[in-house]
Symmetry: C2
Subunit: 312 residues, 2 copies
DNA sequence: TCAAAAGTGTTATCCTTACACCCATGT
DNA sequence: ACATGGGTGTAAGGATAACACTTTTGA
């Protein structure tokens, strides 16, 4: 960067660089969060940023809808990674990658299609429904402890304990990226290992380049958003039961939710309205059907303040 | 974007594009939020993305510290704008701009220096300390009403009312970008007007290109962050009084805060500790001096869940 | 009849908000 | 004395979390 004080024209950008777009497309089918992949699960869909894209978002949206046949409900930019941020290729060529998060509504046809894969295949330690996975206590914690002992012990172990909720600290489902980074730093993850170093390859399915890191960023973002923003509904069919909604939230958060309180939370916020019908094939008592109250999408802007304001 | 199923090598990115970095640098000096500008206040500091930057963040950090002589406390990526997202130049050349937010500690030397300017010069409608600015009722609301009447009246007026807290809706200080976009869409802002169209140029100082839009993004981000993340401290001198801290938060949020409750909020969260000294030149009773509890920076990861979890 | 899921009620607890009030210093 | 800012107490209200319990279906 150079400071420019006298001329108003911008200094010309030095070397042109290669730019591509990478998408984290998420859908939930009967309680399983899925992510769209290509290359037989080895990569996220991506491609060069081309002139014909009138805007990044529009380009992505069109592309996804052509490829999958499903409407893309919600799109937001995730992050822009530069080569050395990505810790890979030092092959001289500059490259940056702009990543997007997209949410799709559940459709019966979505599952068998091309590349939809459960995201917990890539992050098995992230699914805490039914309790923390044994993987953490059996493999991750010991490996991280060993790594911590090999340098700056205190700081390293402290980070590990916070990220993975060790030593009685609670599990924080939003720290997806921090956990991945930590495992990467400790060389416990395939992507971090030169050629085929020893063990620990059981820590999730790897992806090419930094795609798993991008996926981690996406998961973290959805998990955060779902709590203060009614984005869940972008993942639901137009009509649903409370339990279906709950299962969807649980799938995303990787946590079990308390049923009675969940219902009240949703109803009290007036996020849904009854359709009047009921659904009988639930395995128990028939459930009332709900739909999302469209008005909410705008109103919700009026959300939380969290500061102790003066007067009124 | 093209789908690639058979080869594992990435398709080469088509046309290389020009990439540059733009920074929103923020500091607060005695109750005034400042932003670093160049070109006599017409632009945010920016420059080409160059090879020598080992990473985007590191590059930015080094550059800022050389230019300003102050340490850059906190850096985060804001957004990546593409040309047509930016609604400007259709001159054939692709260009994208990666923007960053940086927070600097208040220093006595910071104000007179090169390009620090009050950010409310650019967004006069955003400062609600001491009540909503008259500008909104006198100019903005009428103009927006006129604009709404010229097409899709209901939807337009609804958006306007939400964004600016009209018709008894509360003011939401986080909607900085939405408000700017709205004024832009309604052509009430200099940047949106071809050549010199008629009136309404009083709506804040303009900037070149989409820099004011980037600044709006930055302000929105700080305002959101300040409420669930102890970033305020990145803006404070190492030792401060409670009122100074409060004034800083008020400056950023553009809102008045309730003093007794603010103190309790801070203390109860154990964000600060007493230094033991007291400050006498406050104009009233001497105030106790505080410093930020460093440990918090890590612990804070343990933040909010907001979902009704099952068991424990 | 029992399992599975749908729902309702109620309480303890915590956090937020608002109001009222006293303390210490300089002019 | 009084203005200015520093600082404490407390009670009402709402949101959350935890527990116990009833209802309705299908196998």
């Amino acid at each position: 960067m150079t400071q420019q004080k006298t001329t108003k024209a911008k200094a010309p950008s030095a070397q042109p660089v290669a730019v591509d777009l990478t998408a984290v497309l998420v859908a939930v089918a009967d309680g399983r969060p899925l992510v769209m992949t290509i290359e037989d699960g080895w990569a996220l869909p991506s491609g060069p940023f081309a002139v014909e894209h009138r805007s990044l978002q529009a380009g992505l949206r069109g592309w996804v809808e052509r490829q999958t046949g499903h409407p893309l409900g919600y799109v937001e930019q995730l992050y822009t990674f530069a080569d050395s941020d990505r810790r890979q290729g030092v092959e001289g060529a500059q490259a940056i990658s702009i990543s997007y998060l997209g949410l799709l509504q559940a459709q019966p046809s979505i599952v068998p299609l091309t590349g939809w894969r459960p995201w917990y295949d890539y992050f098995p330690w992230e699914d805490h429904r039914g309790g923390a996975p044994q993987l953490i206590a059996k493999t991750i914690a010991p490996e991280l402890r060993r790594w911590a002992k090999s340098g700056e012990t205190g700081a390293r172990w402290n980070r590990a304990a916070i990220a993975f909720g060790l030593e009685g600290r609670g599990w924080n489902e939003e720290l997806v990226l921090q956990r991945y980074e930590l495992l990467y730093e400790a060389q416990l993850i395939a992507e971090a290992q030169q050629a085929s170093r020893k063990g620990a390859a059981e820590l999730g399915r790897p992806m090419i380049g930094d795609h798993r890191r991008i996926l981690a960023t996406g998961i973290a973002r959805v998990r955060a958003k779902i709590k203060y923003n009614p984005v869940v509904f972008e993942l639901m069919a137009p009509v649903f039961t409370m339990l279906q909604l709950q299962r969807c939230v649980e799938a995303i958060a990787g946590l079990d939710v308390h049923k009675p309180n969940f219902r009240r939370l949703i109803e009290q916020q007036q996020l849904v309205e009854e359709t009047g019908e009921s659904v009988t094939d639930t395995g128990g008592r028939p459930a009332r059907a709900f739909r999302f109250r469209a008005a909410v999408r705008e109103e919700r802007a009026a959300a939380g303040t969290k500061l102790p304001l003066a007067r009124s």
